[in-house]
């Protein structure tokens, strides 16, 4: 195994990710809609989506890369059939939509074949058969699925467990409409909810259930619910028979040559999660926990990388926001120069109105899924927050300019300066003193707002804590850690801003 070489390559990849993203940002202006910028090697390319929150089938490993049984399997199939496989990590429920829109070639995500899903995608031959387990507290009286009627149940949104637990679905064991189903983005969060006493049970696939219970064996147990048998398969776009045939052929070959059994042994039967410490000394326990949460998982590296990405997105977005915001402000100010509403000021008003009237979360999802077809997540995030910020920056700049006394304009004009010259030499330098502190605040606000980029699978600071939680089943330490990092970051920026503001005001006694 050329493992070292592989690691090196991954590290280089990480290092160049930011540079690449910047390049992509530049490239963006020459791209339209869904740019088909795949490289053309002799191998065919295969963009495969997954949701790396479903161990041991798919998860983010300690190097920060997608890993797991499914990932290894699709790579093995790709190798067999001559495909360059690229893995794309996203929300589980977005996978099918991305396949139908062509954003993905296929998905492998522990996805069960169902009649509903067959309406939208075609499935390969099943590569794995799984059953649903119920996880309950160790002292629970629940013994089967029917016992869950009227109880509180946590599930991973869009999974078979979700369908099984939701009373409205057909042929259900659970029919009581008072049954409360809490849907989480991740299986880990569902299990954490159970651990914290928020629900009575979790319905989830067998293998992750075994992994979760193993990590929490002092408090949880699982019940085998054998009423439903599920088959996992690879999904492709409907009618893509060529790819489907290749995948089935590849699967057959991998099974025939023994690779498949090896993967089962490595990933599924050998599933290991770090056990909790047994020491009773509270200090040793604490240090041990910190070590387990932040060091053993390489969590601190994830946090640092996440912090870098959070800062990059915020900084690039605020720069974009300032440029666009300045243009918007001038468009709005045109109505003051002309003395009545202009086409430009109307456009600017409508734009600002729409941006300020919709949640940035929705804007982010539209930008990523609709505009970019689930590609270029970093660029989509920068653009979303840049566009979002521009609406607020426009108002900041406009107010900053209007706050400069009109006498300054008259003073400049009376000396023979044109309107533009007066703006440039006299009004703007004064307006900037009003604008800059407010812009700094906008930057600070933006940093906090970017915490939602995890929704489009960008590994920012908040998402880094998700990673640690999903690997350690500990929510307290990672969440407190990122809260402290955000707080320190914003505190430093605020201090710098105050210092800067004081320097601006120097010699400016009113």
């Amino acid at each position: 195994m050329k493992r070292k070489e592989k690691e090196k390559r991954i590290n280089m990849k990480k290092r160049f990710r930011l540079v690449l993203s910047l390049l992509v940002l530049c490239l963006l202006f020459s791209l339209t809609g869904c740019g088909k910028s795949e490289s053309t090697t002799t191998n065919k390319t295969l963009l495969v989506g997954t949701n790396a929150e479903f161990p041991p089938f798919e998860y983010i490993n300690n190097d920060g890369v997608e890993d797991g049984f499914d990932i290894a399997l699709i790579k093995a199939i790709g190798k067999e059939m001559g495909y360059d496989v690229t893995i794309k990590n996203m929300e589980f429920k977005s996978l099918i939509a991305s396949i139908t829109t062509g954003g993905l070639d296929a998905s492998i995500a522990g996805m069960t074949i169902t009649e509903d899903r067959k309406q939208s995608v075609d499935f390969s031959d099943a590569y794995y058969t799984a059953t649903q387990y119920i996880i309950v507290p160790i002292d629970s009286s629940i013994t089967n699925l029917a016992d869950l009627n009227g109880k509180d149940i946590a599930v991973q949104e869009g999974t078979t467990g979700d369908f099984l637990a939701t009373p409205a679905d057909d042929n259900d064991v659970i029919t009581d409409s008072t049954t409360n189903v809490k849907r989480f983005k991740k299986g880990t969060d569902a299990v954490l909810e159970l651990k914290n006493g928020g629900v009575d049970a979790v319905v989830i696939d067998a293998n992750p259930a075994q992994a979760f219970v193993k990590a929490n064996k002092e408090s949880l147990k699982y019940i085998v619910e054998d009423t439903s048998t599920e088959e996992y398969a690879i999904a492709v776009k409907q009618g893509n028979t060529a790819l489907l045939a290749d995948l089935n052929e590849g699967l057959a070959r991998v099974k025939a040559n023994g690779t498949f059994d090896q993967l089962v042994a490595t990933y599924i039967n050998g599933t290991s999660t770090t056990d909790a410490t047994t020491s009773t000394n509270p200090f040793v326990k604490f240090v041990d926990k910190l070590d387990r949460v932040f060091v053993q998982t390489n969590g601190y590296i994830r946090l640092l990388n996440g912090l870098g990405i959070t800062i990059s997105i915020s900084l690039l977005a605020v720069l974009l926001g300032v440029v666009l915001g300045f243009v918007l402000a001038l468009m709005k100010l045109s109505e003051i120069i002309v003395g009545k509403k202009t086409i430009l000021s109307r456009i600017a008003n409508i734009y600002i109105d729409i941006i300020r009237g919709t949640p940035s979360m929705v804007q982010l999802l539209i930008m990523y899924m609709v505009v970019f077809h689930n590609r270029f997540g970093f660029v989509a995030a920068v653009l979303t927050f840049g566009l979002n910020s521009s609406a607020y920056v426009a108002e900041i700049i406009r107010a900053g300019i209007l706050a400069v006394d009109n006498g300054q304009m008259e003073g400049g004009r009376s000396l023979g300066f044109s309107y533009n010259e007066t703006m440039r030499y006299i009004v703007m330098p004064q307006a900037i003193k009003n604008i800059l502190p407010a812009l700094g605040n906008e930057f600070i606000t933006l940093i906090k707002e970017t915490a939602i980029v995890g929704y489009i699978a960008i590994q920012d600071l908040t998402k880094a804590s998700d990673f640690i939680i999903s690997r350690t089943y500990e929510a307290f330490y990672p969440l407190i850690a990122i809260a402290i990092i955000y707080y320190i970051l914003i505190k430093i920026l605020t201090k710098l801003l105050n210092l800067f503001e004081r320097r601006l005001r120097k010699g400016d006694i009113h």
Binding site: E410, G411, R413, S414, L415, G416, Y425, I426, G507, I509
Partner: protein
């Protein structure tokens, strides 16, 4: 030098100037007086088109200000303006306030502009404040700097819009002194003011405006000692007693 013909200006329905005719000759110091709202400031601001007249014509040095092809920015360099609120640029030093226009207009080099600015500051008596910012000066000093700033472009005409109205009483004198010296030096000046003493002493001609019209004009003696119009008499009685 300045010919004003049938000048009208209204703000919405309010007619502020109702047909002004006037002629100002080179080297003349004309003081415009009248009650508030009489239109005297508006008339002055029309002379460099800070206000856009609705009708009539203004010709300065043979150039029609209302003509479409007239470069108003170039025109304004020849018509200095001093404001009631000084309108110094707070982000620039006193010296920079004065040199900004000559340098940016490329009329002179930076060194030249600074030399001339220092001469002007010496003339108005604030040379020691050259490197200070406007906020560090008294009102009287600010207004003298504002006058120097206008003079730096070597204008043919100076317009003064109530230059002492925003000043504390003890500072009025120093500004009027500068203006008086300027008039004695032969500068063509149009001054809107409430300082009747200045009008009596310095003006070549006094114009009394009321209700958007020129009611009476003449030498200071004629207007102040034997005003013909009843409205002039009323106004003078109020301001002089």
């Amino acid at each position: 030098m300045i010919y004003i013909n049938n000048l009208h200006k209204h703000f919405g329905d309010l007619e502020v100037l109702k047909g002004i005719d006037a002629h100002i000759t080179p080297g003349e110091c004309v003081v415009v007086i009248g009650p508030s709202g009489s239109g005297k400031s508006t008339l002055l601001r029309c002379l460099n088109r800070l206000e856009e007249p609705n009708e009539g014509s203004i010709v300065i040095d043979g150039i029609d200000l209302m003509e479409k092809n007239t470069d108003i920015n170039l025109m304004r360099r020849d018509v200095g303006m001093v404001f009631q609120q000084f309108n110094l640029f707070p982000h620039l030093t006193i010296l920079e306030n004065i040199t900004l226009a000559p340098i940016k207009h490329k009329i002179m080099s930076k060194d030249e502009a600074q030399k001339i600015a220092m001469d002007l500051l010496t003339r108005v008596g604030v040379a020691d404040k050259a490197d200070n910012y406007p906020a560090q000066l008294s009102g009287g000093q600010k207004q003298r700097v504002a006058i120097a700033r206008s003079l730096a472009l070597n204008p043919h005409v100076m317009l003064f819009d109530e230059p002492t109205s925003a000043l504390d009483p003890e500072m009025v004198g120093e500004v009027l002194d500068v203006m008086k010296k300027l008039a004695e030096g032969g500068m063509t000046m149009v001054v809107v003011t409430h300082e009747m003493g200045f009008a009596k002493e310095v003006a070549d001609r006094v114009i009394f405006m009321d209700d958007g019209m020129i009611v009476e004009e003449g030498t200071p003696e004629e207007v102040f000692t034997s005003p013909k119009n009843e409205r002039t008499q009323n106004f003078l009685r109020k301001v002089l007693n």
